[in-house]
Each structure stands twice: as structure tokens, then as C-alpha cells.
Symmetry: C2
Subunit: 121 residues, 2 copies
DNA sequence: TATGTAAATGCACTTCCTTTGCATTATTTT
DNA sequence: AAAATAATGCAAAGGAAGTGCATTTACATA
């Protein structure tokens, strides 16, 4: 099961929701998928993305990704046309300055707009 | 009613959820608050913040804010200790480069960590 | 091979939040 | 004052995340 889900995520180029996975695996129960992905997340195999749509999306981490805040934070692009979220893994998040007293532990950067596929149509 | 809600938002220094507002106005109905805030959002009086907690938060726009992508996008800081989200209006979001073909319309940047209040305790 | 233990699965249910439909009440306009 | 428009409240729907428990499957070891 886990292998199947892993494969599914690997084939998808975009981040998927739990429902997406559910639709892909009609036979399996929602809970199984939920917990499997949760296991993946806990083991840094996939990362969660909150793209502002209200539903969490998941995507495989890059090869060699350690989910480390300093090196592995890339930005995500949410297309408001096709509703897909892609990982722009080559685009690391720039250094963000926070005021005195604030300690930053994590950064989430989502760019919303039209993706390359939709803009070329 | 709208004036009251506006005042409430103005007094709050942090972004609030719908529930927060609900607790502040026990007499008013949830729907009224919801719709009022929605109206505010549509008229660029407040902006929505998705800080990754799963519940949308709202905060007044700055004076003179036109919710314009080029000038008014500031970053938000979510404190994982006190669960509060503050607008760092002085910290504009840096220029984000997206690949060829992508058209960016909006940028959402949330830094997660410990806020100044909590770090000094 | 039998069997005991741990992990994985499925079902049902709960909870939380957002959103909408509809009837009622208030407010404005003519 | 009557008509039109807007605002409110109640109820309920809808979506999604998460949990408890029982059952099944897999695995290791005696």
C-alpha cells in the first residue's frame, strides 16, 4: 500500500490533496491513505503544503531533502486557474528578516497566479 | 454592527479568527459576523491571512492599503507558542522570481516561530 | 508449522470551520 | 405609507481533519 501511494505521489508532478489520493485509490479507505501519508510526512518523505486553498496538499520531498529549514525550503506556486500547486524546488526562499525578538523557525511562501501551462493557452 | 466589528478589529493588534470575533460579540450571530467580515474583505478593508493553522484569520488593512500586490504585501508571523498571528507591516515581501511562463498575482509569506512577547518570557 | 506480537487496515463517528438558504426584521427610497 | 433594498438570525449543509476500536494481515520466533 505504501509503495503504491509512494508511486502515485512520485508520478504526480503536482501536490495532491487527500481527496485526490482518495480518488486514485477507490478501493482503499480514506483513513489508510490519511495515515500512510501522515507517516510519510513524519519521516520526511513528503512535505505538507498549505497553499491557501484551505486543504492541505502533499508532495514528495526532493531526493536528498532533509526538510531542513536552512537549505530545503522552496517556494510553492498555486495556480488559480487549474487549482494545481507545484513545487518550485529550484527556487529557494530568500532570507527573511524578522524584527528584534522574533525567532523564526519555519517559512512558508506561496505565490499565487497563473502557471506556465495555463498561461500558454 | 459593522462599526462595532471594525472597532474590534482595530483594537486588536493581532489577526483574529471568526471564533475570536464570535466570542467578542456574544449577542450577534455567527453568520452576521461572517458576512460582515466577508464584506470587509471584498472591499479591501481587511485582509485574510492563512497562517497554516487551518483557520483563516483576519486583520485590518493598513491605512492607505490598497491591497496592491506590488506595494502592500507584508509578511505575517505566526507564533507557535501563543498561537497568535501578527502582521509585520513594516516588512514587505521581497521580490520573488518565478520561472518563465508563470505569472504571479499574489504572494503569501508566513514565518512561523516564537514572537517577541513569548521569547522574552 | 504453529503462534504470539505488532503493524496495517477499515468502519464509524466526532469535531471544527466555512458557507448557504430562507425567513424575519430593519432601513432606506420614492 | 408603500415598496424596494439591505442586514440579521436560525438552521442546516458541506468539507476536511482527526480518533477510537475492532479486525485483518504480516512477521518473527519458538
Amino acid at each position: 500500500m505504501r509503495l503504491l501511494i509512494y508511486k502515485f505521489l512520485a508520478e504526480k508532478k503536482v501536490a495532491v490533496t487527500l481527496s485526490d489520493t482518495e480518488n486514485a485509490f477507490v478501493k482503499a479507505d480514506r483513513t489508510t491513505l490519511y495515515r500512510t501519508i501522515k507517516t510519510f510526512v513524519e519521516n520526511d518523505i513528503v512535505h505538507q503544503i498549505d497553499d491557501g486553498t484551505g486543504t492541505i496538499k502533499y508532495a514528495l520531498c526532493e531526493v536528498g531533502c532533509s526538510c531542513d529549514i536552512k537549505t530545503d525550503l522552496h517556494l510553492h506556486f498555486y495556480c488559480s486557474n487549474c487549482n494545481e500547486t507545484v513545487c518550485l524546488t529550484d527556487h529557494k526562499i530568500p532570507q527573511i528578516n524578522v524584527p528584534e525578538g522574533f525567532i523564526s523557525e519555519n517559512v512558508n511562501l506561496v505565490v499565487k497566479g497563473i502557471c506556465n501551462k495555463c498561461s500558454s493557452m
